[in-house]
Amino acid sequence: MGEGVWEQVQEQCSDVRKVDLVVALPSFNQASTVVPVVQTIVAGLKSSFGHASILFLNADVGSQDGTPDLVRQAVGGSVPFASIRPHTEGMSGSTFALNRFSYSGMPAREEAFRSVFAVTRRLEADACIVLDPSVRTVTAEWVSLLAKPILEKGADYVAPVFNRQRYEGSLTNNLIAPLTRALYGKRVACQIGGGYGFSQKISNFFLENEALWEGDGGRFAIDSWVTTVAVAEGYGVWQTCLGNKVQDIKAGADISMSLAQAVGATFHYMERYQDIWEKQVGSEEVPIVGRPCEIDMESVPIQVDRMLKGFRQGLRDLLPIWEIILAPDTLAGVLELGLRDDEEFRYPLPLWVQTVYDFAVGYHEKVIHREHLLKSLMPLYLGRTASVVLETKGGGPELVQDTVEHGCQTFEVMKPYLIDRWRFQ
């Protein structure tokens, strides 16, 4: 695949042999937002990397609205530009594929990333940054925030962090980030989309390890697994606060699919990195650049009663499935929650952590079909989210942050439970 993509680059930029920085834009039908994003990126490149050699790369997975042409026009002749069409095995260009295959809202996003890594390797670029054309709030500063930690401070991977509204990214805050932190000992926010930075070293690693791209986790959830793999492999992970993120394609519109893909990716790599996370104790901060991120106290509408309804329906209908997955004492705790009134409803944090760990063990043991297992976590997740909303109702941003932090610590403290069950199930 790398050769085909490289030939496309050579056809368009035959004189480009080596660059300092690759700026990549994976795209799919984003004509409505792409032009201002590209103009902003080009402005950022001129102001921060005026003297560096750069390739602007558009990896389009089959747009039918002329996105690649708009990108080419917007870039103009300001920086060397190439538009490539990654090999997507027929997944691109289908709206069905868009809904079916990736919570990122973009089909074959993984292949676009892979092509970008392949070009980065061929050009021996020191860094490559990937930006999303659907994010309307990209600023010129994002380019340097993502690239400079790699070019100047030796980072291998730069993950984005955004200002968020209260309760935004609930799945990430309540499950993925605490679990990743407990497993691999790095305090990363695990937020996705917007922009990433990669060193040549880590992009080569991604390219050379075919196994990373296999399985549903590898295929459909690259936004989730790049962070997991970077922390698990011990690469230099940095975070950069990029400010606000307003995105046209709402990542994770289908919640159960998003949950299955994002959580599935985390569970998938738990099997690969078992030797690493079993030995890991405690956690440490990772370096962060940019202005400190904030939690906006303005909350978007949240229907707690609807979440509780979902939880109770799960309790009523999915019990035979949960009986297979959950340990008896976890199940007993969950059953007890069904008796509580809406206002008094609390899903205790230790019980939630135990639930997540039981699901991880169930995934590992393949007690039922894995997609079914992951999707059956959905009502329990709704229950925990409702509980967090009720617990922090009326509190300030510190309370929300404290709740998330307390969750992370509990995941760490209860890790022996996971190790015991994982080993001796």
Binding site: S256, K309, I321, V367
Partner: protein
């Protein structure tokens, strides 16, 4: 007269004796085949059970929902044991039919070739039944989870309908494969399936309009998601 009677007696005795002498090896062949059948059946059963245990077939069946389905149907034995027993009886019957064929009786003439001719149908029917049960459980479970996550009322009912739809379809296919009352099976299947579809259509039209509206609105996004925040 007496001589004729004597000749008839001797001839009859000789005939019977010669038939007996001719039949005895055949009887011994039958007994040998039966003993061989028991021995070979036992060997196949034990080997098969060991192989299935090594490849963790029981775990696979548990995961695919076959074990719970059989438990619900009253089967208490483990599936590898069940498969082993089935293999034993197939092998035993195979040898038994050979033994019966060896008797060379007019009533059982060509029994073995008839059995062998029908055997592919039986194997195909067993495979169809197995795949059907697995598919019924898998689709039933998938529909149940999807319906619960979509917060659709009567999720379990919908899942059961799907599960039993697949089971009925499988039974019809198995009976057709075995050639048992083909016309009746096709007619019965058409009536049952058509009846279910008609009943569902009437039920939806009369009593389930609100549910259908809710599902369609959610599917086509006319009703905005009430939770506006992103989970990821």
């Amino acid at each position: 007269m007496s001589e004729m009677w004597q000749d008839a007696m001797v001839a009859a005795f000789r005939e019977t004796a010669s038939r007996g002498v001719l039949f005895l090896p055949k009887l011994m062949a039958l007994v040998t085949f039966l003993m061989l059948g028991v021995a070979m059946g036992w060997l196949v059963k034990v080997s098969l059970m060991r192989i299935l245990n090594v490849v963790r077939f029981e775990v696979f069946c548990e995961r695919m929902g076959l074990t719970p389905a059989l438990t619900k149907a009253g089967m208490k034995q483990q599936i590898p044991h069940l498969v082993g027993r089935l293999a034993f009886w197939i092998v035993f019957l195979f040898f038994a039919f050979m033994g019966v064929d060896a008797l060379d009786l007019p009533a059982t003439a060509n029994l073995m070739s008839a059995v062998l001719g029908f055997l592919p149908n039986v194997v195909a029917a067993i495979l169809v039944a197995l795949v059907g049960v697995l598919l019924a459980n898998f689709t039933g479970e998938a529909v149940l989870i999807a319906a619960v996550n979509a917060q659709i009322h009567g999720a379990r009912f919908i899942a059961n309908m799907v599960r039993w739809g697949v089971v009925i379809f499988t039974v019809a296919m198995v009976l057709t494969q075995l050639g048992i009352a083909k016309e009746i099976v096709v007619a019965a299947f058409s009536i049952i399936f058509g009846g279910i579809v008609l009943a569902m259509a009437i039920a939806l039209g009369l009593g389930g309009r609100s549910i259908a509206k809710e599902v369609l609105e959610r599917r086509f996004g006319r009703e905005k998601s009430r939770d506006e925040f992103t989970h990821i």
